[in-house]
Structure formats: C-alpha cells, structure tokens
C-alpha cells in the first residue's frame, strides 16, 4: 500500500524538480468484474485489471494532464507533459490546486468485493426471484458489476492520501411478454448490503403488471416516479449543479443561487458516503469529500466546486474536484413524510413511471428536453393501477419539473444503471404535477 503511495509521490517530486509549479498524481489500481446475461443465460464474463496514474500539472497557469500506465517511463512522460505546458496557453480560470494537509475518514471499502472472482451465482439468484413473479415464460437480461479500487493521491500542495473504493451492482430487466418488462437494480458498496433477489423481484413485479400494454394518450399528467426513473431525472439536475456547467451555460441553474427552484419539501444533496457506490474519502485534489446540500427546502444553496471554480464564484471548494472539472459524486434526496402507499392512494388519475432512457436536450440553459419511459408505464386511477401503457415520451423542462414536485415518499433506494441513472442516487418515490407526455403520430 505505502509503496504505491511512495511511487505516486515520486511522480509529484519529479515533476516539481522538472519545473512544474503545482502537481497532482493519483494512482488507481482497479479490479473490475462483470457478468453479462440475456435470455436467462450468461453471455460473457469479463475481468479487467487496470493500473493508471492520472497526472495533472500546472506551469505558469498552463494546465496539462496525462495518464501513465506504468512507472517505467515517468521521466519521459513528465518531460513531454511539461513541454506541452510550455507551448500551451494560460488557463484564465485556473486558480491553483487545494492547499494544506487534511485528515481523511478511514475507508470502509469491502475487501470481499476484491476477492470475488466469479459472482455468477448472484445473477441466477436475481433471475430466479424474477421468475417467481413472472413464471417460466420469463426472458431476462442484465449485468452484474463489481469494483474494487485502491487509490493513492499525492499533491505538491500538501494533500496526500490512500483510499479504497468498492461497489457491487446488479441490473436486471425481465420480460413477461414481448412488450411487457420491468427493471430492477441492487446497488451497494458492500456485499453484506447487496440484495440481488430484491432487484429480480422488482423487475418481475413490474413485468407482471405491465402485461397487455395499450398505447398511451398525450397530455399533462400527475406522475409518480419510481426511484429508478427518478434516479435518471435527478442525474439531470446533478449534472447541471456543477460550477463548470454554470460557466459553460449547460445548466438551468445559471443565476439561480439563493433563489427558489423547487417546493420546500425538496432537499437535494451530493454525498459520496460509505453506503454509496461512489464512496470516496477525498476528491481528485485531495480535499475531503463531504455532504453538500445544494437545494435546501427548495432554495438553491450552492454549486459543486473544485478549488479553481470556487475562486471564480468567491466561495470554497465543496470537495467535488474531478481531474479537470468539478462534478457530482452521488446524489441524495431527503426522504419525505408520506409512504409510497399514500402517494398512490391519493392519486386520482395519473401515471406511474418506472424507468426511462435516451434523455436529450434542445437547450441545456433553458432546460427543454425529452426522455423515453420504458418498462412499466401505468395509468393510475383512484390509487390503483388500471392499465399498462406503452409508447409515451416525457417532453418537458428540467427546471419546471423540479418546481412541480408535490410529494416525496419515506422509502428510498440507492439506484444506478448504465449511463441512464448516473451518478448513483438515493432516490424516493416522487409525485410530480403536470408532466407533459407526447407520442408518435
């Protein structure tokens, strides 16, 4: 462990001796496993062993970065990087890397995930759980993914640290009919809290309810979002809360600091806590990560920052530095005061959406976008599911939707799948008013 840190520190010292003003090196030794399955059978099992050192250095406010994949050509790579810095132009927004030395929380990564060589049994556990709901006609597919990373960070500005990061995720989509499916996920940072059968059961339950869907009708609906699809919607806001998104006009939150952007019941945080699939104790500048409430009782409180963007916005870093730009690690929405059952019971007429994909914007600054719900889409009347629907699209606005949140459940689930619900989030069931749905004509 300490040998790797020493080698990482050596890179920083070497770069300084060659003339760099500020340097950060981060070495990641990653062990990743993935089982992909479809038609209820394993298609391929994949193992990646990856070693990478990310190096970012500044020379007279010129910012250059590289990745090294071994320690043998460090000198050559650094000389080349500095040569590039010297022919580059000054970055007007670079405000230096984080300074000081910080105490870090002890990593609680699960070593069992490092030693898990063949996790195929978890796949069958999930398929069996889905099968219990659907029956023998089930067709299912998905992935099981495990991650264990040892991370070593050294900075010329003081921060030095070791972290270990673990995660396990099972994503299953189960079909009860050709156009009737459900999707469930199980996400955790530890094997102990990983429940693959819960994902299978959820996928099976939705797929069973989704049988015999009819094409839905256009219009504005009250909608209950399942935690999985809400994870996708939350990821839109999470991407837009980065200070870099503000600076590049890729956000509906430009000029909204201190303003009301949501109802009072909405509290949104970024928090790469121990339970999260994105758990980490420091960011890419070595700043300790922490909980950052960015929407508090509906008021936009902060953007997510690294040291440079924080200087521009005259504030302090929030511990969200990526290598180049700040970003969200893991989002939490505070639990509401009502149960999931109450949300449904109080719905006179509306939709229950369970998953979505292919979210695309017309204009990030304005927020107009559409996304296509998939898997179970249900018409709810007087609190009960009346009809399974298909072929509807959400065509709405990211800021308007945030403002239209009307109910949040007590129940929450950690969700993540593919690039559609990413970063991971702790999402509740959410009732939103007046969501615009369109369809093909």
């Amino acid at each position: 462990m300490t040998e790797m840190l020493s080698k990482t520190e050596e890179i920083v010292k070497k770069a300084k001796s060659l003339g760099a003003d500020e340097v950060i090196a981060k070495t990641t030794l990653g062990k990743y496993r993935q089982v992909r399955f479809s038609n209820n059978q394993v298609d391929i099992t994949v193992a990646w062993n990856d070693y990478v050192t990310d190096v970012i250095l500044a020379w007279k406010k010129r910012l250059v970065a590289t990745q090294m994949h071994n320690f043998t050509n460090v000198d050559t790579s650094l000389r080349q990087l500095l040569r590039l810095a010297k022919v580059s132009e000054e970055s007007p927004t670079f405000g230096g890397f984080a300074k000081g030395s910080f105490p870090y929380a002890k990593s609680k990564a699960d070593k069992k995930l490092e030693d898990l060589e063949n996790p195929t049994d978890y796949v069958f556990e999930a398929i069996e759980a889905a099968k219990k709901e659907i029956g023998s006609g089930i067709d299912s597919g998905g992935i099981l993914f495990t991650k264990f990373e040892n991370v070593y960070l050294a900075s010329s500005e003081g921060p030095t640290g070791i972290d270990a990061r673990s995660a396990i995720e099972l994503s299953i989509r189960a079909f009860s009919e050709r156009e009737a499916s459900g999707h469930g996920v199980a996400c955790s940072s530890t094997l102990r809290d990983f429940k693959p059968s819960d994902a299978g059961t959820k996928a099976g339950e939705i797929a069973k309810l989704a049988r015999s869907p009819k094409i839905g009708e256009e219009g504005a609906y009250d909608v209950i979002f399942d935690p999985l699809i809400f994870g996708s919607i939350v990821s839109i806001w999470a991407g837009m809360i980065s200070a870099y998104s503000i600076m590049t006009q890729m956000s509906v939150f430009v000029d909204k600091l201190g303003k009301k952007v949501a109802p009072e019941i909405v509290i949104l945080k970024d928090n790469p806590a121990v339970y999260s699939m994105s758990n980490r104790v420091f960011d890419d500048e070595g700043v300790p990560t922490r909980e950052n409430v960015f929407i508090d009782q509906g008021i936009l409180k902060t953007y997510l920052h690294n040291t440079s963007t924080a200087k521009i916005f005259k504030t302090k870093t929030t511990g969200n530095a990526g290598l180049i730009a700040p970003g969200s690690w893991s989002v939490e929405m505070d639990a509401g005061g009502v149960s999931k059952e109450t949300l449904f019971k109080e719905m006179k007429r509306g939709l229950y959406l369970t998953n979505t994909w292919y979210t695309r914007f017309q204009n990030y600054a304005k927020g107009d976008f559409s996304t296509i719900p998939r898997d179970g889409i249900f018409l709810v009347e007087k609190g009960e599911i009346k009809q399974s629907l298909k072929d509807l699209r959400i065509s709405d606005n990211a800021l308007t939707m945030l403002g239209n949140i009307a109910g949040i459940s007590k129940e929450r689930q950690q969700v993540h799948w593919w690039g559609e619900a990413d970063p991971p989030s702790l999402s509740p069931y959410v009732l939103m008013k007046n969501v615009h749905m369109t369809k093909s004509k």
């Binding site: 993935q34 992909r36 299912s140 597919g141 590049t248 994909w357 600054a365 107009d368």
Partner: protein, 472 residues
C-alpha cells in the same frame, strides 16, 4: 507493442480445452485539447496500451484484459478467461460462425501526419474559430471546443490462424455554442471526424459552419415562428436523414439486439423472429435503401477488418424499402445460421467486440435538393436537428429541428422555430417519396455496450422528401 507476448498468450490458451481463443493487443495514443470561450482549458495526452484474451470453452465466453505487459500477467489472464468461460455453464452452448484465417496488415494514410502537428498549431486552429465567431455580429456568451487525436495500433491473433496488424489515425473536433439574444438562449453543436491526417481540419470549415449556426440560432430567437401542428410535407436535410438512418434502421438491424443480448441496456428491436417484421418485410417506400459501409476511405467509421478479423464490406440494411440484411458479428451470425458481415467493433483492448454500425446512410436518388423542394406546395424543410431520441425497440422516434424553414409553393420562406416530427419507423420511411442525389456525411459517436463503448461513425446522407407527415 510486444507481439511476442501476444503470440505467447495465444499459444498458452491453446494448451487448454477450448473451442476458440483470441488475443488482441492495442496501443492508443490519445490527445485532447479543450477550449472554453477560446481559451485553453486543458490539454490531456496519454498512451494506453494493453491486451485482452477472449476464450470460448464449454460453450461459454470469458474475457480478461490488462495493461500490464508481462508473461506472468498474460498467463494469469488466460487462466482467468478460461475459468470465466467455463463458469458460464450455459444450457445453450455458444459458437462462432465460420470464417477463414486471415494474415494481413492494413493502415490508413495521412497526407499531413497529425502526430507532427505541434499542439500550439492545433490550439491556434481552434482559437481562430472563436475569433471568427466573436466578429459575426451574434451574441455568443459561451463556447466549448475540442480537438482530439487518436493513433490506434492493433495486433489481433486467434486460434484459427488469423494474424492482423493495423494502424488507424483518427482526428476529431467538436464545437458547442450558446447564443443569447433578447434575453433568450439557443444552443447548437457540430462534431467533425476523419480517419487520416491533419489535412481534414481545414476541409471541415468549422468557422464557416459555426458562424452559420450562430446566425441560425439568432434567427430562431428573433424571427422564427412556431408551426401550427398538422399534416404536411417535410424535407429532411442530410443531417436529419442521417440520424433517422442511424437510429431507426442501423440500430434495429443489429443482430445482437434482435437476439436480445442488449435487452437490459440499449434494448431490443421491433424486428424479431415470429414478429411482424423480419427480413423480407416492407418497412419503407421503394426509394429507400439504407446501407452501412465501413469501407468508405477516410470516413470516421472506416475499417477494413473488424475486431474479430472479418473482412469489412457494405451491408444493405433496408433495400428498396424492404428489411434485407442484419449487422452481424460471429456470435450472432452463428445463432441465426449465417456468416458475419464484419460488424464487430470494440473501442479498446479492455472492451469486448460487439455488433456496431460504421457509416450508415440512405443511398442517393436522382433529384437535386432544389428539385425536392420545388415539388412541395406547403411544407417544412428541417435542415438540421437539436433534441432527438428513439425508444429502445427503435420504433418511436422524435427529431426537433434546429435550422428549419417553411416551404410555400416550392420556395423556402421564413424560419420555423423548433418544428418536431414524432413518429414511428414505418411511418417515417413509408412517407419518403424522393431522395436527393448529393450525399453529405456528418461525424458522430455511436453509443452502445456496457461499459459504454462510443465508436466513431458517419451519419448523414442525401436529403429526403416525406409526404403527409404530422409535424408540430
């Protein structure tokens, strides 16, 4: 690249009880310049080099990769891939469609080697675009631009005797602008890509295109009118025709998707065995022939051999409006009792090769763009698009116009703000009554796979004329 190590790994794999083994080494030099508002934001350069082993044993597939180049690592990798293949414990055993062994080397030429272009020249070339934009009389509060270089060397060997070496240089650029007028904003981006050298950069005419986009966006804010929803004729510019060909022809024709292998991520297809659509089913009018062709020289999606060592060729996906030929790798081809047509691609040594498009477009017709428009009494010309998406069975799609105009009595009139076509694949392609003769390609990055593998492709094509479609 240590080819001996790759050969050794294959030899070691062949000592085991396997049905098939392959080893692929890949070295990729990547260089990224990112500018914000014309200022250099970051310069990232890296060489990533590693190899992977894919083994079929007991009808299952195991895949393992590493970036540590050592004999002991190679041996461990083979052992691991073998173990993972057997652990699949499949009831239906997998196999690969047959192919002959190939021993060859292929490369892409560069007139001006991109690795010889100083980084400051590349920064300056992008900065010039910002300078031009700054003087175009449109308020542009934010730009993001990027120039990318990838030098990709591969060495592929398999247990059937194939030995394929390749070198492909790729250059790409991306430009995103936000236009603000009258307190409102509009946004647009363009992507550029080429397999070859720096000679492409000037040919792209990025500044000219982005100035045009800036003026179009200004017009959308200041002059364009919303369309009254209704049934009308629609001319799709090459950019819109291209995204439609990619999304509602290329993707649903991927055989792995048809067979369900992507069901939980990119989804399935409206085409499936026993369903209403299969090869031989009409899906569009007889003027519609959509092809996917990796062999277009210097195209962004160019390759001569795919990542399973199968020779690339043009595929006729929809032929004269009829579903004709799926995109296959060796696994999907074996399942459907045919041969691979060379559609297997991976983005790096650490990703399995899966069924992908290369350059997908509608074959040109005989009319000029003007002739297409002349024959429209009342309609819309959607020249380019902004928001778009399609459902995961690839049947319900939506394209929102970026640059669009009203057509009255065969002439282009005032700009139209954000016209939308939201329709089915069958309605879209059936409505096409004419195709223009000029083909224009656009570079794009196609997403698929888990972990995601964004592969370079061309979309674009000729212009299409659709009769009587609902536009809002």
């Amino acid at each position: 690249m240590d080819e001996d190590l790759i050969n050794c790994a294959l030899e070691y794999a062949q000592t085991k009880k396997i049905e098939y083994a392959e080893v692929k080494g890949q070295s990729q030099t990547a260089d990224r310049i990112v500018l914000r508002n014309g200022n250099l934001e970051a310069y990232v350069t890296a060489v990533d080099s590693g190899f992977c082993v894919r083994i079929m044993a007991n009808g299952g597939i195991g895949f393992a990769s590493t970036n540590k180049w050592s004999k002991s690592e190679a041996k461990q990798l083979v052992d691991l891939a073998f173990k993972l293949a057997k652990a699949a414990n499949r009831k239906e055993k997998l196999s690969f469609a047959k192919k002959k062994a190939v021993k060859t080397k292929w490369t892409v030429d560069q007139k001006r080697k991109i690795e010889n272009i100083p980084s400051e020249d590349r920064v300056e070339a992008l900065t010039e675009v910002d300078k031009t934009l700054a003087s175009c009389n449109v308020k542009i509060p934010a730009t993001i631009s990027q120039c990318s270089i990838d030098l990709i060397t591969k060495y592929f060997v398999n247990s059937e005797g194939s030995r394929i070496r390749s070198f492909v240089p790729k250059i790409g650029a991306y430009f995103f602008i936000t236009v603000a007028e009258q307190g409102k904003t509009e946004q647009a981006y363009e992507q550029f890509g080429y397999s070859g050298g720096w000679e492409a950069f000037n040919e792209w005419k990025i500044a000219e295109k982005m100035v045009h986009n800036a003026k179009v966006l200004k017009d959308v804010i200041t002059r364009a009118k919303r369309l009254a929803p209704g049934t009308t004729d629609l001319i799709c510019g090459s950019e819109v025709a291209g995204i439609a060909a990619h999304e509602s022809c290329g993707h649903p024709m991927e055989a792995d998707r048809i067979l369900g292998r992507e069901m939980s991520q990119a989804g399935r297809s409206f085409i499936y065995k026993g369903g209403p659509y299969w090869t031989g089913t009409r899906i569009g009018s007889n003027v519609v022939t959509v092809v996917d062709d990796p062999t277009i020289e210097h195209s962004y999606g160019y390759y001569l051999y795919d990542d399973e060592g199968v020779k690339a060729r043009r595929r006729l996906l929809y032929k004269d409006g009829v579903i004709n030929e799926f995109l296959h790798n060796r696994e999907s081809a074996a399942k459907l009792g045919t041969r691979s047509n060379g559609s297997s691609r991976s983005i790096n040594y650490d990703r399995e090769a899966i069924v992908r498009m290369a350059n997908t477009f509608v074959l040109p017709g005989k009319l000029s763009e003007e002739e297409l428009i002349e024959d429209v009494k009342h309609g819309v010309y959607m020249k380019s698009f902004t928001e778009w998406n399609i459902d995961d069975k690839r049947f319900n799609q939506r394209y929102v116009g970026r640059e669009a105009y009203l057509i009255e009595r065969g002439e282009l009139k005032q700009p139209v703000a954000r016209p939308v076509i939201e329709t089915t694949t069958e309605k879209f392609w059936t409505a096409v009554d004419a195709v223009s003769k000029e083909v224009k390609f656009d570079a794009a990055t196609c997403g698929k796979g888990d972990p995601s593998q964004g592969v370079p492709v061309y979309t674009g094509g000729p212009c299409l004329r659709l009769r009587g479609v609902f536009v809002k």
